[in-house]
């Protein structure tokens, strides 16, 4: 179930140079999102940019007492996100959501692998099952390790890697994972979101292991509702390979099923 609704911007604040936190409140009663679901947000009021952009739900608040808040963490990348960053408190935007399957909620200890902005999508499962996650968090540098204090407080253990070594180990998070007993000798479920390169690396790493990895994928989207077939990924399904819609059958897939090119 998802809805098309109007929302008012409560806040759109900068966390650092190109990272912002957007808080909106739906102007009509709406359903609450699940972990790993996302919304299509209108980013401006003109035809350029034209299409809505997808953003993972970072936090949702007040759905049980009618004071609904939806929060998104986003990075300014191009025209769409730049336009979104210019919206102000009090502006209205149209929204579609919550969209997609989301992560299955873990029942026991679990492993989380976040690359950069991927942390936004994974935050809700850290919050749902506090202090049960082994979090591997990678980013380019210290500044891009966003909401570090918050996720640290929610995790059982945290391992950090940055490309420049400004915090944690120097290098990419997948290299850190390689030497971790959690991947080698364990069977805890893995939840991952981040750049395609990171997810590809993960798939190589767990190829022969019996680990279930739930990964959230990223692709350009036009409709966000499964109508345009624009956002596909190739997956194995009953011995054949088919394109599935990330917005409808995803964004979360079993890593084992994904056919990387």
């Amino acid at each position: 179930m998802s809805e098309y609704f109007k929302a008012a911007i409560i806040d759109n604040i900068s966390l650092n140079e190109d990272l912002k936190l957007l808080t909106i409140t739906p102007l009509v009663p709406t359903i609450s999102p699940g972990a790993g679901q996302f919304y299509m947000l209108q980013v401006g009021n003109t035809y350029d940019p034209l299409l809505k952009r997808p953003f993972s739900i970072f936090r949702s608040r007040g759905f049980d007492y009618g004071h609904r808040r939806l929060e998104f963490l986003y990075k300014i990348r191009g025209k769409g996100t730049l336009c979104l960053s210019n919206l102000k408190k009090g502006d209205d935007i149209y929204v579609i959501g919550p969209i997609g399957n989301g992560y299955p909620v873990p029942k026991e200890d679990f492993v989380v692998i976040a690359g950069g902005m991927g942390i936004a999508s994974l935050y809700p499962i850290l919050e749902r099952l506090k202090k049960r996650a082994y979090l591997f968090y990678g980013a380019r540098n210290k500044d891009e390790l966003i909401i570090l204090d918050e996720v640290m407080a929610l995790s059982k253990e945290i391992i950090i890697a940055t490309d420049d070594g400004s915090v944690g180990q120097k290098g990419v998070i997948i290299d850190v994972l390689k030497s971790s007993p959690l991947i080698k000798h364990n069977s805890l479920p893995v939840y991952a979101c981040g750049p395609a390169l990171m997810l590809k690396g993960l798939s190589m790493l767990v190829k022969d292991a019996k680990i279930t990895c739930y990964v959230s994928l990223d692709e350009y989207m036009a409709c966000g509702v499964g109508a345009c077939l624009g956002c596909v990924v190739k997956v194995r399904s009953q011995k054949t390979e088919v394109y599935k819609r990330i917005c409808k059958e995803g964004p979360v897939f079993d890593l084992e099923d994904i056919v990387w090119d």
């Binding site: 098309y4 350029d48 034209l50 299409l51 025209k79 509702v225 499964g226 109508a227």
Partner: protein, 315 residues
């Protein structure tokens, strides 16, 4: 008399190829899935018609991603006509669509004359036995594998052959969807009319390209894609007007329609009905708002039948 009661008096129904639509607003193929995708937000009963995603005899996998990229006031797509195939559509999607009080127009295509004919035959047979398909829309912007991959819709001879062959196969109302990637669209419409088509729809997307300059690569895996959205609207309106002057069969106009005013441009230029495509992505309620807006506009103008605005352009 108040505006509201005048609005109620406005006749919005139109006749396209013998099908009586309750209003002239439909969805365009490939932008509304098989109807169910938008049924959470849109009351499908209110639509003049639903045109479903293009179908072929056998399922098609489609192109590798990225399949879409934004362009100024528009988007490019290279979906590659991914679809579940006619049989699966009839089995899995049509029963859902039959529940609604709207008309279902099935868009189809092939890569040879034989395949077009077979597709039309299968759809006509399904319609004859179980109903639920009210008209066919034939996408001719596809290459012919039996003749050097020349696109049917850009070659008058190939177009005549394929439309004539399909016309012989089906008794369902036959709408031909014209390609805008031609020099003289009026000529193309005439060929189609002479080959027995009941109506034409236009425009399909305009071939375009976007380049990632850092990577020196096209943004789409397919290199080129079809441009749609507000960016194409003036071209589409011009083409509808040219076709209106060239043929007598009804025209379904589309290309960048977002608002009531946009829809009216097409009607005034000669379209009898309109379709919303990319507009659905931007505003899922665009079709409904346009249906309401047309009633209001016509009441304000004192035009009580939408047919009277078709081709009302003064030069």
């Amino acid at each position: 008399m108040g505006l509201e009661s005048r609005e109620e008096r406005v006749e919005l129904s139109v006749d396209i190829a013998g099908v009586r639509l309750k209003n002239p607003v439909m969805t365009s193929s490939g932008t509304f899935g098989y109807g169910e995708e938008y049924s959470e937000f849109v009351d499908l009963n209110r639509l003049g018609a639903i045109v479903v995603k293009g179908l072929s005899v056998t399922p098609k996998e489609g192109n590798p991603p990225p399949r879409i990229v934004e362009a100024p006031a528009g988007m490019l797509n290279a979906i590659g006509l991914q679809n579940i195939g006619i049989k699966a559509f009839i089995r899995e999607k049509l029963p859902f669509l039959r529940q609604f009080k709207t008309h279902i127009i099935v868009n189809f295509f092939g890569d040879s004359i034989g395949e077009y004919v077979q597709a039309a035959e299968e759809l006509s047979n399904a319609s004859a036995s179980d109903g639920g398909i009210h008209a066919l829309e034939m996408n001719i912007s596809c290459p012919n594998k039996e003749d050097g991959w020349i696109v049917f819709g850009t070659d008058p001879k190939a177009m005549k052959q394929v439309v004539t062959a399909v016309r012989k196969t089906t008794n369902l109302p036959l709408i031909i969807k014209l390609s805008p990637n031609v020099t003289d669209i009026g000529l193309m419409a005439r060929v189609v009319e002479d080959s027995g088509a009941d109506a034409v729809s236009l425009i399909n997307t305009i071939i375009g390209m976007v380049v990632d300059v850092k990577k020196r690569r096209p943004m789409l895996a397919n290199t080129t894609g079809g441009l749609s959205g507000p960016a194409v609207r003036p071209i589409a309106v011009r083409m509808v007007w040219e076709v209106y002057r060239a043929v007598k069969i009804p025209i379904i106009g589309m290309g960048g329609i977002m608002t009531t005013n946009d829809a009216l441009e097409f009607l005034v230029a000669g379209a009898k009905a309109v379709a919303v495509g990319t507009g659905n992505f931007v505003n899922p309620l665009a079709t409904i708002e346009i249906i309401d807006g047309l009633g209001r506009f016509l009441a304000e103008e004192g035009i009580y039948n939408v047919n009277n605005i078709t081709g009302s352009l003064e030069i």
